[in-house]
């Protein structure tokens, strides 16, 4: 998925904190989350070594050496001790509860002046709409430094989850309901966004990239940039949207869907035995209404790769000119 990005942006997770546990803290609420994380961490380290230490110490001191050796002590109650080990954890836990709750309220409520974005999740890619943008950008988005941004998300099929580790932000993305998530980036750079809710075969490949840029850069609307050569653009769209199910090479191998190599101008056989020429009408129909004609052997469940049907791509995701570009690129695939 990241292959379409320039080389230097391919390892965006570099720069863990000094203990190597948390990713870079690049949003306004990340420092608070990290503070609580390390508070819990050091408490855990203390109690772990306390308990393990007591066990090791008493085992060394009171190891049974003769078969009849009785216990060194038969105390079974100690009220002050029991009160202490009930109250001390209770107090610590309540502090952690309050801290986490407070932090979550900050994470939940977006400031009123937040920039409005939209995100659409579908198997297995992300599409983003920037403020004022017509249509959607697949696989990456840009946010300005030090400004709150709010995403309204929904899914077109199953559950997904919008997760940017560097921002400590996560929200499930649901079909049939809008969910929102917000953050304010504090460090320039590119960060990975990952799908965190299991969504099927290519769940682990459902990645995207967040670019945090200066206001100046942001004002240039980099999401509108597209290759001038339609063949290049068509290939780019293919790489962003189609590669999780299709292949386009002359190996003859398939994934969940037919291999697109050299199909232009030929005929495809459908499940009912009829044949259909691969022309522009067929390509448009296959992208917009994939269920209309299904190639023989690719009905859902028919081969070991495809569990479900192909998702439909509306003109918001792939504009009509995009399909033109894909058609031009398809024509170049031949031996």
């Amino acid at each position: 998925m990241l292959a379409f990005l320039p080389q230097q942006q391919q390892e965006p997770l570099q720069g863990f904190d000094s203990l190597g546990q948390l990713p870079p803290a690049a949003s306004t609420f990340a420092p608070d989350v990290d503070g609580l994380f390390y508070f819990c961490f050091w408490i855990s380290v203390f109690f772990f070594f306390f308990i393990a230490g007591l066990l090791v110490y008493t085992t060394m001191q009171n190891r049974r050496k003769t078969e009849t050796q009785p216990a060194a002590s038969n105390v079974t109650h100690n009220t002050p001790l029991e009160v202490v080990w009930t109250l001390v954890p209770t107090i610590i836990l309540m502090v952690i509860f309050a801290w986490g709750w407070k932090g979550n309220l900050d994470q939940s409520i977006a400031p009123g002046d937040a920039l409005q974005y939209q995100a659409i999740a579908q198997k297995w890619n992300w599409s983003f709409q920037h403020p004022g943008q017509k249509g959607f950008t697949p696989g990456e988005f840009w946010v300005p430094l030090d400004r709150p941004v709010k995403f309204t998300t929904h899914s077109t099929d199953v559950l997904h989850s919008f997760y940017v580790p560097a921002f400590r932000a996560k929200r499930d993305v649901l079909p049939g309901r809008y969910q929102t998530v917000w953050f304010q980036a504090t460090q320039e750079g590119s960060y990975p966004m990952l799908c965190a809710e299991y969504c099927g075969d290519e769940h682990s490949q459902m990645r995207a990239v967040v670019h945090v840029v200066t206001q100046e850069e942001f004002d240039k609307a980099p999401w509108n940039a597209r290759p001038e050569d339609p063949i290049e653009w068509g290939e780019q769209l293919y790489n962003q949207y189609c590669t999780s199910c299709h292949r386009a090479d002359n190996t003859g191998e398939i994934k969940a869907a037919p291999n697109l190599w050299a199909i232009w101008g030929k005929e495809e056989e459908l499940e009912d035995g009829s044949r259909v020429p691969v022309d522009k009408d067929y390509i448009v129909e296959s992208i917009r209404y994939p269920q209309a004609k299904i190639v023989k052997g690719f009905t859902p469940g028919a081969n070991k790769y495809n569990a479900g049907a192909m998702t439909a791509f509306s003109s918001a995701l792939i504009p009509d000119e995009g399909i033109d570009a894909i058609v031009q690129w398809l024509q170049t695939l031949k031996d």
């Binding site: 078969e67 009785p70 060194a72 002590s73 199953v158 996560k170 769940h203």
Partner: protein
């Protein structure tokens, strides 16, 4: 050996006495048995097979994750196979091993003995529960053969509605296994109420019985919700009624509420019996009465009660209201308190005891160490703001493996090693058993500590491929999984070997004080030659072990 109990002057007879194992022979004497001990043995074999099957899937998962692009399944060949593997690992381990293992195998054997009873209250129901387990497992295997589910053991909608038909047979498997669990639970509730020995009041029951009793309440009250949920899922899959699928006006998050309303109590169905086993093992092998008996009993019950109202903490990112999240977070911290009390009480029980580092005790100590990790890392996940970051990452995976695998499974093995001489009248090779226990502890740490680290760095769970940054952690984790596998393979080896070539075990091998040790080894068919009577509150009184030597 420093661990032996001074009863060596009791000669071991040439001809084995009649006991429950040799009192009748033939296939039907086992397949149709109503003896709780034989049913326990059958459960022991069955659940251990399920554990091995789940373990093989686990090793498959770890092999796949050796390389960021996948080893067995890559994008080119399709990643669905990996998804089936982790689903089957989860389903086998949860529904066929962890939930039934301790109640089905160990409690079936030991609980009636501890209560001084001849059998459980409802022996036919007990046998039925085992057959339901077999049928449920059969359905699960059928589901694998007809295509295998790839939904994860949580069956989240709407994915589970849209995927292959084998979800329906797996749902039926879970439904049937659920009833097996309900039968077991009902049986133990009635047994604890009705069959305690004369003089054995509630507070003269061993703590294991309290733990099983608390578990049984959860099994009976929570499992029906799971049954209803998987039935609705099956109907939704087959007929698209519109309960969970938004395409037909349903709500996919509703499924999560139903599912976790069962599955959170189920977490305690898994861990409470383990806690009970550990209570018995540390007391016997440290030769010391349990510290804070009443508080321990009340902790078990309060854990069971609170566990019903914390399910929402599995759904902190699902879009619940902020108020509901606050309430679930608070209740989650509440359940941590009795858990902490139990941990401290076990340590206090061992403290200044007469500590024998036997195989069961080593497993129990590994439990105490790993359970503390599992409990402490739960704090990170109960706190709202940190959970948002850690939810659905490897941190969660490592956390619940610390509780389920590192705690419940180890408690099960501690119990198996503890009661093995009493169950079979044979003794395993103790040196190998100690080595295996050490393998398990080390293997656990090597496998799961890297998972905590990459989880806090943001590595999501259920990933067949991953960013190359995490490869080092994954490789260490894979090595750890094979250390664990070696330990378990060794264990199965010497345990099976002991059945055929093990030395006969002395009476009361470890010197236990509760009624399960105050009978023949192995017990006779009717458990006790004379009905036992409990006359004292000091049920964990080990002074007889020191006195006998004095007399001799």
């Amino acid at each position: 050996m420093t661990t032996n109990v001074p009863v060596a002057d009791v000669a071991i007879e040439e001809q084995p006495k009649e006991n429950y194992l040799n009192c009748s022979k033939g296939f039907w004497s086992w397949a149709g048995t109503l003896d709780h001990k034989r049913i326990g043995v059958m459960y022991l074999i069955g659940t251990t097979m399920a554990f091995l099957t789940g373990g093989i899937f686990a090793l498959g998962i770890r092999v796949q994750l050796w390389s960021p692009d996948g080893v067995m399944f890559t994008q080119e060949t399709g990643l669905a196979g990996y998804n089936q593997m982790f689903t089957l690992h989860g389903v086998f381990m949860v529904f066929m091993f962890i939930i039934p293992a301790i109640p089905g195998a160990l409690a079936n054997f030991a609980l009636p003995l501890m209560l001084g009873a001849k059998d459980v209250a409802l022996p036919r129901l007990n046998l039925a529960s085992f057959y339901l387990w077999l049928i449920g497992t059969g359905f699960a295997i059928y589901s694998i053969l007809t295509g295998a589910v790839d939904t994860g053991w949580t069956f989240y909608t709407p994915y589970s509605i849209q995927t292959e038909q084998s979800v329906v047979s797996m749902g039926l498997a879970v439904f049937i296994l659920g009833f097996s669990s309900i039968f077991t639970g009902m049986n133990f509730i009635v047994t604890c109420h009705k069959l305690r020995a004369p003089g054995q009041t509630w507070f003269r029951m061993p703590l294991f019985c309290w733990a099983i009793y608390a578990t049984a309440i959860l099994q009976v009250l929570a499992t029906p919700v799971l049954g209803i949920t998987v039935l609705m899922l099956a109907f939704e899959h087959l007929y698209h009624i519109g309960i969970f699928d938004p395409a037909y006006g349903g709500d996919p998050v509703l499924f999560q509420h139903f599912f976790w309303f069962y599955s959170h109590p189920a977490v305690y169905i898994m861990i409470l019996p383990g806690m009970g086993v550990i209570s018995e093992v540390v007391s016997v092998h440290a030769r010391k009465p349990l510290f804070g008996y009443r508080l321990m009993a009340f902790s078990a019950i309060s854990i069971a009660v609170i566990s019903f109202i914390v399910w929402g903490h599995h759904m902190f990112t699902s879009g619940q209201s902020e108020f509901v999240m606050m309430a679930f977070s608070f209740l989650t911290f509440l359940v941590a308190i009795p858990t902490a009390i139990k941990e401290f009480s076990w340590v206090a029980t061992i403290w200044k005891g007469s500590i024998a580092l036997t195989a069961p005790m080593l497993y129990a100590m590994a439990f105490l160490v790993i359970f503390s990790i599992g409990g402490l890392t739960g704090i990170f996940l109960g706190a709202l703001s940190t959970d948002i970051h850690l939810h659905d990452t490897y941190f969660v995976v490592a956390h619940f493996h610390a509780v389920m695998m590192g705690s419940t499974a180890l408690a099960f093995f501690a119990g198996v090693h503890h009661w093995w001489p009493q169950i079979f009248g044979k003794m395993y090779n103790e040196t190998l058993a100690k080595i295996s226990a050490c393998f398990t502890l080390v293997g656990f740490m090597v496998t799961f500590l890297p998972q905590f680290m990459m989880g806090s760095q943001g590595m999501p769970r259920r990933y067949a491929t991953y960013l190359p940054e995490w490869q080092g952690y994954h490789q260490v984790s894979t090595i750890g999984a094979f250390i664990l596998g070696t330990g378990f393979a060794l264990m199965i080896g010497y345990l099976v070997h002991s059945l055929f070539a093990g030395k006969p075990a002395r009476e009361n091998y470890w010197g236990g004080a509760t009624l399960d040790w105050k009978t023949a080894t192995p017990p006779v068919h009717t458990n006790f030659d004379e009905d036992p009577v409990v006359t004292t509150d000091e049920i964990y009184d080990y002074s007889f072990l020191s006195e006998e030597k004095g007399k001799a």
